[in-house]
Amino acid sequence: MNWEAFWLTVRLAGIVSTLLVAIGIPIAYWLTHSRWRWKFLVEAAVALPIVLPPTVLGFYVLVALGSRSPLGRWWESLTGHTLAFTFEGLVIGSLLYSLPFAVQPFAASFGAVDSKLLRASASLGHSPVQTFRRIVLPLSKAGLVTGFALSFAHTLGEFGVVLMVGGNIPGVTRTISIDIYDQVQTANYSSANQTALVLLILSFLVLSIVYGLNRRPWAVGPWR
């Protein structure tokens, strides 16, 4: 069992799912309340990572954000290194990769809040921000935890993007899924087995929390 890779992966998943709460809430709120007629295009874009192969994401992070592209050069001038082969690179790749797993549950729970409550809150003099903070957020707790847990679990299981842009550096980009892959490649089955079992149990626990919180049929997908 490679604990370094394990903790690295937990750290990556923790950072990514926390950031996704911050990024996902405004996106989900906008998706729930916007009446813009082209909103469906944004919804489709947010859902893209569910269907896109991770290799597409990996390819873009490597090439479009590499030192041959303007964006990559800008990043390099800012930080002194390219995104590939760094922990930040994995964070950015994973943010894109797990975005729908946070935004969709958030939006579903925001949409389930009774609009009468929102109007009542407004008529009592609350600004939209106050209404959101005092009414919508508390009522959406289960959805928020679900989005956090799902994006955490999804990032734990990330493989393709990391394989393409990580460079397999111990303690920096060698995540648990890469470690399992390497162990299988070298026919080190007993060690692969151990690590796989730990990941299996951890993922099961996280998903049990999700389904325990939402005791009704629920699946990741278009929420309407």
Partner: protein, 254 residues
């Protein structure tokens, strides 16, 4: 429902193979093998499919029942292990070349490789050095051995990034994400990279010899066709084609 079933059968049907043979080949062959196969198919009408990966990865897939007919390995040890496990036919083992490791840098790099050689890797402008994963890729093991041979392993180890196989290592440099790589000569000479960079060939004594060997696999249902393809490897046509990708037996004397 009827239509769905018909569609399903049609989709399944496409998996049924004709008389083609499938070659599992080390990543260093990914430019040369398609050329070799094209020449062979033109000559004999035999279709050949190929699958690339690191040699260790492929050997492992073969152990687990992968439906390959021929195995091209970048390290003779893997075919020998398969022979010992009765997964490959000993009499078909053919060493077709010695693989060469090169230090490759992009064309826009200012470093003068002919003057610096491996010392180029110590330059501050080299932030990341791509090699294949030593755990299961022969070129990765060779790269690690060479870095130790030149006494610079400890100085550069924090800057190493590992490709899944040697072609991913090449791609890391080609895409500009790493500034130098220890890759296969066959990649440096391949059309995709030829004009994009410069290389310096490492001396043969810097790393254990990378004997490239091919073998027919015991599970193959097309033993004859597979053997004929390996026969073709010995022909002058195949030898010169392989030679143009840097695959040849070394002539230097020791």
């Amino acid at each position: 429902m009827k239509h769905m079933l018909a569609l399903l059968l049609l989709l399944i049907g496409t998996f049924a193979t004709a008389q083609e043979i499938v070659v599992a080949a080390a990543a260093d062959m990914n430019a040369a093998l398609p050329q070799l196969v094209a020449a062979y198919t033109k000559k004999t009408g035999q279709t050949v499919k190929f699958s690339f990966g690191s040699s260790g990865n492929l050997a492992n897939q073969i152990r687990n029942g992968a439906p390959f007919d021929v195995f091209f390995s970048a390290d003779e040890d893997y075919p020998r292990q398969l022979i010992a496990e009765e997964l490959a036919a000993k009499d078909t083992l053919y060493r077709y070349a010695v693989g060469r490791l090169v230090l490759w840098i992009p064309a826009d790099s200012p470093l003068d490789l002919s003057k610096l050689g491996m010392k180029a890797l110590l330059e501050p402008s080299i932030k990341k050095i791509a090699i294949a994963n030593p755990a299961h890729a022969p070129y990765g093991r060779a790269a690690e051995a060479a870095l130790r041979h030149f006494g610079i392993y400890d100085q550069v180890s924090s800057r190493l990034v590992l490709g899944e196989n040697v072609s991913q290592a090449a791609q890391f440099v080609e895409s500009g994400n790493a500034q130098a790589g220890l890759i296969a000569l066959s990649h440096a000479l391949a059309p995709a990279l030829k004009d994009k960079g410069r290389y310096w060939t490492l001396p043969l004594d810097a790393y254990p010899t990378l004997n490239q060997a091919a073998v027919v696999l015991s599970r193959s249902k097309q033993q004859d066709a597979a053997r004929r393809f390996l026969e073709f490897l010995r022909s002058p046509e195949a030898t010169s084609l392989l030679g143009s990708y840097g695959f040849s037996m070394p002539v230097e004397t020791h």
